[in-house]
């Protein structure tokens, strides 16, 4: 018995973990208990030194003093407060009006606003609930196909998982030992490509089955000029002016070609937005009548999210702020915005703080549990067992990537990204590094994959939230079926990133791994080469 256990302790430990987790007991404590149980078994069988457990407090201390994870409560608080500021409602209403005249217009608006909200709030529930409450009834009333309407909303809400400042990317960066800033930069292009793929799907439907995504009839478009004109020409002129201003600024101000392109882009775009905002303000205050109602409204609803995006992501990309500081400033900015809109009272502030505190606590406790688990899992050479399993997959690097992605896709049916990130990533990352795979790239690839955990029927949380706010005539089966095309798009995106690694690649990523490692020698190593 004990000989069998000594030879197979890593697989036995892993199977025990699965049983513990499936028991329905809180994951954090099941992980920790499993780690400690096997630490004692290991010591008893002579596989581990008893001194191993003395590393426990310093493990905990390492998590406490981790400044990257501090970004988790900051961005969460920012999202919860923005949820109160009414930004989502304003955006959906106005952008829906803007695109309404096109076939599939409301669907495009949902995708566009979903991406904007994702880059500011990063809260899936908030996006899905507000889109389900505001856009879904509009789409139903004007004859959208239920499956397409619900699918678009559920999928666009999950963009928050991939577009920076997503919590997934922070957690993955921490687990992979890479910088959050690099992770954000690498995720930007895949995130935007994915958004475009969603839009392309709507375009395809509008060509193949026009009746499924009709344009809004004129009477549904209330944001019109007194004479009945759409006011789009005025908006177009303002946009052209703003683009010209940014272009001129980038051209004449940044003459130094050595400046990084993203820095130039961020500063120039800010100038363009400021100009548009100034024109709109002047128009409203001085009653100049230069702009149409539509143009003015669009500028006013677009400025708060764009300002926050530039404040948070801009300062992180340019290198003015660390992601943690970006999160802190974002939370402060969101507070200012919510107070300015008179949407924040003490009660809701207190609620937001308390919810954030509980979320932070359970997320970090999963990490605490996972790190106790990995302390003894590594002690019994479980990491070598996993490496052996993964490197013996046929097909070299491609085989490894496909194997890992299939594993994540299947597990995403049952687990959420925190569990996947904290339990599996530490096992996979060292193997990937040995195979010469760029870890930032791998992180982005896996977060596209993990995004599906929100869309998998029947447990996907995005679907679940949508169901809770959708009108009764929307069938649950329509919500489930509607998610399937978007799951396929997600898989296409995973394939695209594997085929064109350049999509999620950035130059000069920094290795943040701490070089100090606990060196625990086990007396017996069943996986070492003879």
């Amino acid at each position: 018995m004990s000989a069998f256990l000594i030879a197979n302790i890593a697989p036995v430990m892993f199977v025990t973990l699965v049983i513990f987790l499936l028991s329905g007991f809180p994951i954090a404590f099941a992980l920790a208990a499993n780690g400690l149980l096997f630490a004692f078994v290991g010591v008893h069988l002579g596989l581990l030194e008893p001194s191993l457990l003395q590393a426990l407090p310093s493990r905990l201390y390492g998590i406490m003093s981790n400044e990257t994870l501090l970004a988790v409560p900051f961005f969460t608080l920012m999202g919860l407060i923005l949820e109160r500021s009414g930004m989502a409602e304003d955006l959906l209403d106005t952008i829906g009006q803007l695109f309404g005249s096109v076939r599939g217009g409301v669907a495009y608006a949902v995708i566009f606003v979903g991406a904007l909200l994702a880059s500011t709030t990063g809260v899936v529930a908030a996006s899905v609930i507000s889109m389900g409450l505001i856009s879904l009834p509009v789409m139903m009333r004007y004859g959208y196909d239920q499956r397409i309407a619900t699918g678009v909303i559920a999928a666009s809400g999950t963009l928050a998982q991939l577009l920076p400042p997503s919590l997934v990317l922070i957690v993955l960066a921490d687990q992979l030992g890479r910088s959050v800033g690099d992770m954000y930069r690498a995720a930007l292009v895949p995130g935007l490509t994915l958004t475009l793929l969603y839009a392309a799907y709507v375009l395809l439907i509008s060509i193949v089955r026009p009746a499924a995504v009709p344009a809004l009839p004129p009477e549904a478009r209330h944001l019109r000029e007194p004479d009945g004109g759409s006011g789009l020409a005025s908006l177009g002129a303002l946009l052209a002016l703003a683009v010209a201003a940014s272009y001129a600024f980038s051209h004449y101000y940044f003459t130094d070609p050595a400046r990084p392109a993203d820095e130039v882009a961020i500063y120039s775009a800010s100038i363009g937005i400021l100009l548009a905002f100034a024109v709109a303000c002047a128009n409203r205050c001085l009653r100049l009548g230069l702009l149409s109602r539509m143009a003015e409204k669009v500028v006013f609803v677009m400025v708060p999210p764009l300002a926050l995006i530039f404040l948070v992501l801009g300062s992180i990309f340019v290198g003015i702020a660390t992601p943690t500081e970006g999160g802190g400033m974002g939370a402060a900015g969101a507070l200012v915005l919510a107070v300015a809109n008179r949407r924040l009272d003490w009660r809701s502030l207190r609620q937001a703080l308390q919810s954030t505190t509980r979320l932070t606590s359970f997320v970090i406790f999963i990490l605490v549990g996972a790190s106790l688990f990995s302390l003894s899992f590594r002690g019994v050479n479980g990491d070598l067992w996993v490496e052996h399993l993964l490197t013996s997959l046929p097909g070299g690097n491609l085989g490894f990537l496909i194997g890992v992605n299939v594993l994540f896709f299947v597990l995403a049916f049952f687990l959420d990204f925190f569990e996947l990130a904290f339990i599996l990533i530490p096992l996979i990352a060292p193997v990937a590094e040995k195979l010469g795979i760029d870890l930032v790239w791998l992180g982005v690839l896996l977060s596209i994959n993990i995004q599906t955990s929100f869309m998998h029927p029947p447990f996907g949380f995005s679907l679940f939230y949508l169901r809770s706010v959708a009108p009764a005539e929307v069938k649950t089966s329509a919500i489930y079926l509607g998610a399937i095309p978007f799951l396929c798009i997600q898989l296409i995106m995973v394939a695209l990133v594997i085929i064109f690694p350049g999509l999620a690649h950035i130059k000069g990523a920094v290795d943040m791994t701490e070089k100090i490692e606990l060196n625990i020698q086990a007396p017996l190593n069943p996986y070492a080469p003879d």
């Binding site: 809180p26 400690l36 407090p57 501090l70 802190g328 954030t356 932070t360 106790l372």
Partner: protein, 198 residues
């Protein structure tokens, strides 16, 4: 049993009070973080002590709120299989789990962390950064948090045994409905979960 239930109630109240109060530390951390970032880039001043206080607060937030989170039953579970079991079976799983997973875990961590804190205290350890803070108060959070968690575990066991004995309503330990949805409609806080986990 009545005495035990009273004990359970006082543990709940104490941990809730601490967990709810500590959430203001997050507000303080936001202000300090923003202040640090702004001061550094406008006046080019900064201090390690002000940077360190941020993660001291972070540690206090997640550690001291853990037992309150447990009381609200908001630690994540995988309930795909166990969710289908009858209520009493689920309660049994929890009783067994708290007894053989949670309590020993807390006990072990407390045992190992007390000497760890004592060393930091007697040696007067100061963080490695120049102008850093004294380390022992933040290290002392580890045993404090796990004592709180141990107590909460005991309280949870008492409530569940009380439920099996028909003396306690299941609402005493079940997850509460997401707050805030009733009074302000669409964008109300959804239990505050950006990850959105079960």
């Amino acid at each position: 049993m009545r005495l035990l239930l009273a004990l359970s109630r006082s543990i709940d109240t104490l941990n809730d009070q601490i967990g709810l109060r500590i959430s203001w530390a997050l507000m303080v951390a936001v202000v300090i973080c923003t202040g640090n970032a702004l001061l550094r880039y406008t006046l080019h001043v900064g201090s390690n002590a002000w940077l360190e206080i941020q993660w001291y607060l972070f540690a206090a937030i997640f550690l001291l709120a853990a037992s309150h989170t447990l009381r609200r039953n908001e630690h994540v579970r995988i309930d795909i299989l166990s969710g289908r079991l009858p209520k009493r079976a689920q309660v049994w799983i929890d009783i067994v789990g708290f007894t053989i997973f949670l309590l020993p875990m807390c006990f072990i961590i407390i045992t190992y962390s007390v000497p760890y804190v004592r060393d930091a205290f007697t040696s007067g350890e100061i963080s490695m950064n120049a102008g850093g803070l004294t380390v022992w108060p933040v290290k002392a959070l580890i045993p404090v948090a796990f004592v709180m968690l141990f107590a909460q575990g005991v309280s949870e066991i008492i409530k569940r045994v009380g439920f099996l004995a028909g003396m306690v309503d299941a609402s005493a330990f079940e997850k509460q409905a997401p707050p805030g949805r009733e009074q302000d409609g669409p964008a109300a806080s959804h239990a505050g979960r950006p990850g959105d986990i079960q």
